[in-house]
Amino acid sequence: MSALEVKGLRKSFGPVDVLHGIDIEITDGEFVALVGPSGCGKSTLLRTIAGLETVTGGAILIGGRKVNDVAPKNRDIAMVFQSYALYPHMTVAENMSFSLRLKRLPKAEIDGRLRRAAEILGLTELLQRLPKQLSGGQRQRVAMGRAIVRDPVVFLFDEPLSNLDAKLRVQMRAEIKELHQRLRTTTVYVTHDQVEAMTLADRIVVMHSGHIEQLGTPLELYDRPQTIFVAGFIGSPSMNLMDGTLRRAGGGSELMLPSGPVIGLPHLSVDADGVEVTFGIRPEHLSVSREGVPATVNIVEPTGAETLVNCRIGEQSVSVVVRDRQPINSGDTINLKFEGATVHLFDRTTGQRIG
């Protein structure tokens, strides 16, 4: 059964169309991440699911029930906000039990649920504190606690980690993943950080200006991006994308860059000759070798385990990840090996994948 289904969802603010027909089906227990650049409509989508925004067109089904006109509190969802949105005048315990008290559940039941959630999140010692007496990570946990006690059908997270510093963000990311593995509650998780989406989600929805660009598992998106946008968005460092003309050459083909250089691709056979394409190759799939396409090194960024080398082929900027420690310096000329690597071809006008 699908826990959450969004069908042809449209949303406008006055004359401005923000969502143009979104279709997503999420099965029970799944963790789905919504990623996309800032302003693409992720929060709007999440807020319509929560019922904080009305729907302009289409339908939202939670647990098989159409909820377009159902009040947020009756949708069986819980939401975690970016700013935590804790009630500043209530203690941690009061914050977490607020929804249960509004529902007038018996006191014993409230206490039981509160204790369980506090244990799961390691908040037991902090129950009598006020939000202002907590650190950022603790506040984030209280916000999650407030969602957990309700035992909803769907958790909605809106960029819950973006207010934390880098180290804490990685730690909380692991905690969220662990929490999901433990509770198995269906989760929709909004983030603009593709690494967060890749590491957390069972499936990822890539959004771009109110459309879904692609929906798939993290590795599907990485291995076979369907559009130029997804190709550039998923993966870190991001994929090299270069515009050029693809021609047949012997048994394979070659890519002519506008600035002159030609990249030979003997293993890539193409049907058409002379097509304008956007050619994509990931930095980690390129390698430095004795022969290959000459490139001038621009910037060298070592990170320890690997080194990111940014260089130029003609006027085209290309990044390559080098794993072994080679003596490469800015200004050197190196040879890049394209042969045998996974490459991606996109139609330059439609942006769609062609091979």
Binding site: P72, A78, H89, F98, L102
Partner: protein, 277 residues
Amino acid sequence: MTRAYNPWVMLRWALLALLIAFVVCPFIWMVSISFKPEQEVFSKTLSILPRNPTLANYQMIFDFVPYPRFFMNSMIVAIVSTVCSLVASTLAGYSFSRFRYKGRSSLAFLVLSTQMFPLVTGIIPLYLVFSKLGLINTYWALFVAYVAFTIPFCTWMLKGFFDTIPREIEEAAVIDGCSRLEVLVRIVLPLSIPALVATSVFCFILSWNEFLYATVLTTSNDVRTLPAALGIMIGQGYTQWGGLNAAGVLTTLPVIIVFVFFQRYLVDGLTAGATKG
């Protein structure tokens, strides 16, 4: 320290001292007179400390003037006006802050623009309306007048404070199961206590001190408030200065008490909108 001799610092202190003297001297003089026997009030040599201090003036305002009645009237008028104004302003300010509807900003501006007219301009129309309604010389006349004066300021002040409360907190409460009114009562108001206190103090002091309307709209001691009653004690030919100043001291006292007691909130509340963005 050379800083103490900095001429700018000295000038600042001098100006402050002057300002304080300007504000405080009349009070000191009032307190002083209230303890002086009548012949000393009119004596040619001025003295701040009474030579023969007496409580006769205080005795007088309880024996010959229904001071407790006036005090009660003032209390009733100030408290009822404050409560009514606060309830209305809270709802109006919340609506201006949070809801989107046609004419919202022009309505909000209209409310504010009423503050541009001096109080005096309202007195004759209001008198005519109240006399047609038979409300002259009733508490109702003063309630209505004071609530009408204080609502615009209070509404804007509270709107400014509500604007600083993050929307997400309210949205979290809506998802947790609150209705709009519950959000206001359980979340917004507890967070607005400093602003509510500051606004109440403003209303209370304005209603307590108001003289013009109190004088015009009341005609008997049954409803007359302290400022109006004090005004009447200044007679055509003869004025009981001692008694008048004793009454003045007793009238100022509650204001000072309220102010000192809530001072912290007052300063917080007036600046909260500006700093907690």
